[in-house]
Amino acid sequence: MDKTISLTLKVWRQKNAEDPGKFELYPVKDISIDASFLEMLDVLNEQLVLEGQVPIAFDHDCREGICGTCGAVVNGRPHGRLSKTTLCQLHMRHYSDGDTIVIEPFRAKAFPVVKDLVVDRSSFDRIVRKGGYVSVRTGQAPDAHATAVSKPDADLSMDAAQCIGCAACVAACPNASAMLFVGAKVSQYALLPQGQVERKIRAQAMVSQMDAEGFGACSNEYECEAACPKGISVSNIARLNREFLRSSI
């Protein structure tokens, strides 16, 4: 028999965007320490359904730490306190029997709560729509090796492209700033020859949309980097600042 723990969960419950919402306390018993955080919530939800209550709404998809769909603030930290880990990859062995865990949705004006722990992150999609693309020639596909890319640039670009858009950076930032996300998206293209066509307008358009969505400004606290499940470096924010200045001159 697996080792099990019992916990008290303090979960944010909110019926819809208009509901003011409040915390509810839920005791959960006999949770396997091998269960993931989301599986622990599944157990609670099954219990709630059996009791005739409304289950807790939370976002999830791949449950493999690669899609960026899941995410909640656990005891004040997006995706919990483990570094470079999504909420679905956080396991209950990191908690002790009798712990109280506070679970809140990502908080930002640009991410309105849809229900309980589910927030609307479509503001990220609107930012990506403004510049997350490259122009390519029509006709036959070019040879894969037709355009040379230096190894350091390719590495930095791929590092930036690891961003899964989970929004933990915004949730962790004291200013609810989206600079790490936008920095990663702008960097990933700015570093590659294929991204040069829209290089100037991309930085301007994405920053302009970021501001219009109501995200805060970066005050170089670097909480975003600490919360990022993919370890996206704040040097991408520096690159965004540089790209923005370059495109403004």
Partner: protein, 227 residues
Amino acid sequence: MLAKFLKSSIGRKQIVAVSGLLLMLFLVFHLSVNLGIYLGPHTYNLLAHRLEQLGPVRVVAEAGLTGLFLIHIFFTFLVVKASRRARKIGYAVQSSSAQRSLSTRLMPLTGTVLLVFIISHLIDFKFIDVNNTLLAVVEEHNLGLYGIVVNSFRNPFTSTWYMIAMIAVGSHLSHAIDSVFQTFGLNDGDTHRGLHKSSVIIGTLIALLFGSIPLYVLLTHGSLLQQ
């Protein structure tokens, strides 16, 4: 283009950064003059006199400095206002990672302390009657501006307030120097740690050198409370 730049969150931050950098350069100049106190009353007063003699250059520099201060404060206000609006409902549990340094957390506090200090500092030293011999006499010698500085710092309340403000300067700069590099995109990742360390060292050094002056006065001339 300029209007768009000034309206964007990054543009505003870059204005804060460049005005802050120029203010820091002034601070280093100010410090180099202040350290003249260790060269005695004659040299110190001569330095002050030379600055007075700069005439129109000084007036332009003072107007520029005032402008820089106002720009720095105004754009900081705009950036902070937007950031406050970006999260209307806060978290029930507040938890920060080790990434967030103390000087970063204290920026609003140290900035406010510095604003209050600069106003009181101008009242104390800038808008004072340098020819008022009553303020300039130290041990029955009229020592001019040097005497005014010595007499001010012999008051332990003035010295303490000055040293608190210098701690605020050190903390503010520890975050600020590092931030200027980040905000202008000069941090390429590898330099990040080195930049932060240099920032803390420069901030601390400036604070220690400024703070040494009231300590020197108290140690050499004694506190007014002891009389």
